[in-house]
């Protein structure tokens, strides 16, 4: 494997849908290392920004650049976990194996690695259970196992614990920390301030499709640069 696919550079990107501007001129660089939290209220454009970075959407104007020109290799070396994971109609194990097959992992290695990944997220004993009948928290952990098996350099997480109970949230945060410890760059969108603090090293604060502030996590929480970020935290704190 060649040099890192990072940094990811967003070059004055905008995105609009049906004439409505959702991302409005964002320029930033995502470097290897610190876990990046994309924070902002509902509708600030967090999900769309993640999809633009991950390549699921193309920007209306501007450019998304990675340190890797080959599209297939780029796709192979990043993963995304969605707010609502989509499980294929087959066993938990087969879901992980499928992702590895698409990524071009040799057939002989898939099952063993998939089982290791299921172990990592604590789903080994459910390996042969149909994925779609798992609980919400288990499905999200399976989505993380699917990503784990691919050893991505960058993992995008779009509100991975929205709608989950506290126990499931804790389990998922543990896995995200394991990704970080294994050297995967974490880019996570959330509006949960407690989670941002527990998992993040730096914050990109988004409002109405613009980056209002980018700061180390402690600095952001202690002295938010904008009145808007301060108000957002005040409003959100009861749920933190």
């Amino acid at each position: 494997m060649s040099a890192s696919i990072l940094p990811l550079t967003l070059d004055n990107i905008s995105y609009s849908s049906n004439g409505q501007s959702i991302i409005d001129g964002i320029s930033l660089a995502i470097e290897a290392g610190p876990s990046t939290i994309i924070l902002g209220a509902n509708g600030a454009g967090k999900s769309v920004l993640m999809r633009l970075m991950h390549g699921l959407l193309a920007p209306t104007t501007g450019r998304v650049r990675w340190n890797e020109p080959d599209a297939a290799s780029l796709r192979r070396r990043q993963a995304m976990v969605f707010q609502r994971p989509v499980m294929l109609r087959r066993s938990a194990l087969a879901n992980v194996v499928y992702a590895m097959a698409v990524a071009g992992v040799p057939a002989a290695e898939r099952e063993a690695q998939a089982l290791t990944a299921l172990d990592e997220v604590g789903l080994r004993q459910l390996a042969h259970r149909p994925a779609r009948v798992l609980s919400g928290g288990e499905q999200q952990r399976l989505a993380l196992a699917r990503a784990w098996a691919l050893h991505p350099e960058v993992l995008f997480l779009d509100e991975p614990t929205a709608n989950l109970d506290p126990a499931a949230v804790r389990e998922i945060e543990t896995v995200i920390k394991a990704f970080d410890a294994a050297g995967t760059k974490i880019v996570m969108a959330t509006h949960n301030l407690g989670q941002a603090r527990r998992l993040g090293d730096e914050v990109i604060y988004l409002q109405a499709g613009r980056v209002m502030e980018r700061a180390p996590i402690e600095q952001f929480f202690a002295r938010p640069a904008t009145a808007d970020a301060a108000a957002f935290m005040k409003g959100e704190l009861p749920w933190a």
Partner: protein
């Protein structure tokens, strides 16, 4: 009711002749369903997954073709296969092969159009996830077909229902030849025109029973699988 009972008794007196008719009906219709599914399901998946100019036109046309009148299909296949026709050399006219061809053309749009709708609904859910994993084109379409397999049973059953029930196409290209191309529906039409209503009713009851059994079996498989796999 008495007429039906009398008809059923007469039907079972036909034994070997009846079973030949029943078997040929099943053979022709199931072959047509198999062929139409083999052609129609990949077509439906391609339409569900790909966006291209003119796609809407193709979808509308496919939906409209669900209403193809069997006699018109029969006529077209007749013209194709008749001795002077472009495919006349195959010598298929008035054989079960010709009936399979006609029924395949008749139900291909039904299976493809219904499957396209089911697959497109599933695709809305899968699109981003599969693209994120890096599955595209053919691979994504095959994944979608396999994952939506239970919903596709309904589309295939609709095709089977149409094939088993139609009389116009098989009558024209098969000719209702006793012992060669006579199937349930053409036999019923013949007995009715001869005035043997009890026998026609009896044959009709057997046809309905067969369709009912096939559909129930498919439905049971679908329900069990859906409970198991979610």
């Amino acid at each position: 009711m008495g007429a039906i009972a009398e008809g059923l008794r007469r039907v079972f007196e036909l034994d070997s002749e009846l079973w030949r008719i029943v078997l040929l009906s099943l053979e022709v219709s199931l072959s047509a369903v198999l062929l139409a599914a083999l052609l129609g399901l990949p077509l439906a998946a391609a339409l569900a997954v790909n966006r291209f100019p003119g796609r809407r036109g193709v979808v509308v046309t496919l939906n409209a073709l669900m209403g193809l009148p069997p006699v018109v299909v029969g006529l077209l296949v007749y013209l194709l296969l008749s001795r002077a026709g472009p495919l006349g050399e195959l010598g298929l006219l008035f054989t079960p092969g010709a009936m399979v061809v006609a029924q395949t053309i008749l139900i291909l749009p039904i299976i493809a159009a219904l499957a396209r709708q089911a697959l497109e609904d599933a695709w809305r859910e899968y699109d981003e996830q599969l693209r994120s994993l890096g599955a595209r084109g053919m691979q994504a379409a095959l994944t979608l077909l396999w994952d939506a397999r239970f919903s596709l049973i309904t589309a295939v059953l609709a095709g089977l229902g149409r094939a088993a029930a139609e009389v116009g196409a098989v009558m024209i290209v098969g000719g209702n030849i006793d012992g060669v191309t006579r199937v349930m529906t053409t036999a019923i039409a013949l007995e009715t025109s001869k005035g043997d209503l009890p026998l026609a009713l009896g044959l009709g009851s057997v046809l309905i029973a067969i369709v009912l059994v096939l559909n129930s079996a498919a439905q049971l498989i679908k329900d069990a699988a859906q409970r198991r796999f979610g």
